[in-house]
Subunit: 431 residues, 2 copies
């Protein structure tokens, strides 16, 4: 992608309304633009990151055996009246009356709708277990939306729902999702801390939340440091669930069950939450199946959520420096940028074009061919967080050199033009 | 994907509310489930088709130089009040009041929001032309939603917006999109007929609609048969725009400019619409740029829409038989199905497993391992419209044979098990 054809407006100044670093950086780097309180347009750069995260979340769901569908954003109030949550949900639910006077709403979550879909088609234990998910925009009418996409009103969530014959089976499904969540966050380059949690308005008896570590995180976590040392080749769900972890208002040092030298205190951001809530919705919405004795029994359900748009902000909180965002390679909006510092110089242009032509079919490349100052070019590419940068300057090119910069460390080395392609290919392919 | 793990509930009976064939087939094949009037959940099979179409639309937009972003579904009323359309739009706009009493709405289209984004960042002719698109759910509160996803209330649309310095440049952008639309529909296996159209409530002076031919189409088209003979290697926009074409209520035989033997009459379904509307929105919403003489001038805009969820229905109207849907290979939810007619037979299972293991890493395969009757298996695979089907029966397997069925023609041949993989690979790779 040539930067001159792209639409990625970077801003020099920190906007006043942005209180936290991820919000500031997302606006400055041209990832998002607020359209109204808590509602954002995802500009091209932001959308690329959002999609990259979405695809990793999707892939781990598919690998865990969950099946994707897509429920609409607008739901009828009927099912929510049946479940008893229509009144319970309060003002966070965006309630709408359509032209025929029917009560509808913008879905804040989907327990009701998925249970209705399930019960319309499945009525035998032979079709269990089932685990269905979707990735769809939700709306929660927060009284004070803030922190950019971290607490927006319209937000993208992956939510899935498991259906099992018994509590025992449901716990197996629950643990499978627990494992999928750990894998998802690790793949995003994050350190997930899982905490036993309150079930809250969703109901039920078992719940975990997933926080990722970030120095600028919103919560303070107290946890067994073993939680940080996950064996990625063999995730032991039971073991992870057995370690101590609590957010600060639930942590009481005098009752803490682990030794002080085993306890870690760090800041975190909540990015996922999973629930087992038994037959709460299946009973109310008629999701019964026949078991092998011919009896009709309500299915045991769980629900599982990852805030995908929130993760974009959370990942920036977890990985940035004073120059801007530092994206891991698999999430970066572009893997490499080719930065031509002298667009009017024929040699520079030739070298830059050549890199672009050789690499653009293989990787997502940003070719910075903008007519702007050298300083702006360099600082924009750092701000945006492009992992690898090939910087082409007039003097270097004369010496048959280019600069190769690694954003993660901000290390920069001069390499010969002839070797550059091989170095880039090695970096990208062996990562 | 093993059918037993999938969630794809096929129905035997035609639902009473479904008036047209695509709606009937989508419900029977388990592609969609209505959740409320004109609002559908996309079940896994339907979602796969929707995504395949979406990806082709996206790819042709990218090739034409348009840049993707994503605007939210919920918009503030403010910009619509500025443009003058807030009152104009009428009851089709879903109007909402949020918890703080602010007027918001579910976007039926995005001219206002994109113009606001443009004007926030771009103020020089040097940054033109720009063409921005998004693929997002829209809501139009139709008084009588019907025909399934063909006239739903919540629907998926690709809409883009072009920004140019002059009318002349804007027409170039318009024609580029015209060409991209023709290419998109051809790639979907459809025959697009382009017609000069009224601009309607969007305003402006130049507009075309795109209808695709389908025997069961909603409109009757009168057109120069040259429109059907598109040279796909070299799409001549000017020539295509010069041919006569009209929907029936605008066609007057006595005034028809072409010879009778050149005139064709056929049924069509509208799937796209493009508009050039000059400075209507840029003037009202302040989208001005400085030209090369230093003057501030309003940009010339166009907007372009393809109904992606509607296309799913339209494609079924264009391609089905009495057994069900016939998907082209690039749109099919699965390219091949492996149908094991005898799941309890060891030999059948071995052969079927072997096919699945060899093919599933290369293509999207549906492995029909369900515990149901032979008749249901065969008819479901035809109903769903899987292009290639490998049918594994007990007697055939003993003779070292399987049945290879091509859904397009319903031809079926016995082939040796050893050759089957090669035949399938040839079919899929050389298509």
């Amino acid at each position: 992608m040539k930067f001159s054809n792209f639409f990625s407006p970077t801003l020099k100044n920190v906007p006043a309304e942005a209180e936290i670093i991820s919000h500031q950086l997302m606006i400055r780097s041209g990832m998002i633009k607020q359209s109204s309180a808590g509602i954002y347009s995802w500009l091209p750069l932001g959308l690329r990151v959002l999609k990259n995260i979405e695809n990793i979340v999707r892939d781990e769901q598919n690998k865990a055996g969950a099946v994707e569908l897509l429920m609409p954003t607008i739901q009828s109030a009927d099912l929510w009246i049946k479940s008893g949550r229509y009144n319970e949900y309060g003002k966070e639910m965006l309630r709408i009356t359509d032209r025929s006077g029917r009560e509808i709403l913008y879905g804040p979550t989907n327990e009701e709708l998925i249970t209705d879909i399930f019960q319309s088609y499945i009525n035998s234990y032979k079709d269990l277990p089932k685990n269905l998910y979707h990735i769809q925009w939700k709306f929660r009418d927060e009284v004070r939306p803030r922190f950019g996409v971290m607490r927006g009103r319209e937000f993208l969530m992956k939510d899935n729902y498991s259906f099992d014959l018994s509590e025992q089976d449901a716990i197996i499904s629950y643990n499978k999702m627990f494992e999928a969540y750990i894998k998802t966050f690790l793949r995003l380059g994050l350190i997930p801390i899982s905490l036993r949690a309150e079930t809250g308005p969703i109901g039920g008896s078992l719940s975990h939340e997933f926080q990722i570590l970030a120095k600028t995180g919103e919560s303070t976590l107290y946890y067994d440091k073993a939680l940080e040392q996950i064996d990625t080749t063999n995730i032991d769900t039971k073991k992870l669930q057995s370690y101590y972890a609590a957010v600060d208002d639930l942590h009481d040092q005098s009752k803490c069950p682990i030794e002080k030298n085993q306890l870690k205190i760090a800041k975190g951001i909540e990015v996922g939450h999973i629930f087992y809530f038994g037959t709460k919705y299946s009973e109310k919405l008629g999701a019964f199946v026949q078991n092998n004795r011919g009896e009709n029994v309500p299915v045991h359900m769980g629900s599982y959520g990852i805030g995908i748009s929130r993760l974009v902000g959370a990942m920036i909180e977890a990985s940035h420096d004073d120059k801007g965002i530092i994206w891991p390679l698999n999430i970066a909006p572009f893997k490499i940028s080719i930065i031509n510092l002298m667009i009017d110089d024929e040699n520079c242009k030739k070298v830059a074009d050549n890199f672009y032509n050789q690499l653009s079919s293989k990787f997502e490349i940003l070719y910075d061919d903008r007519d702007c100052s050298i300083g702006k070019k360099l600082s924009d590419n750092d701000l945006i967080g492009i992992p690898y940068q090939i910087i082409i300057g007039k003097r270097d090119v004369k010496d048959n050199l280019v600069e190769f910069k690694i954003r993660q460390t901000n290390e920069s080395t001069k390499i010969s033009i002839d070797e550059a392609i091989n170095i880039v290919l090695k970096k990208l392919i062996y990562k």
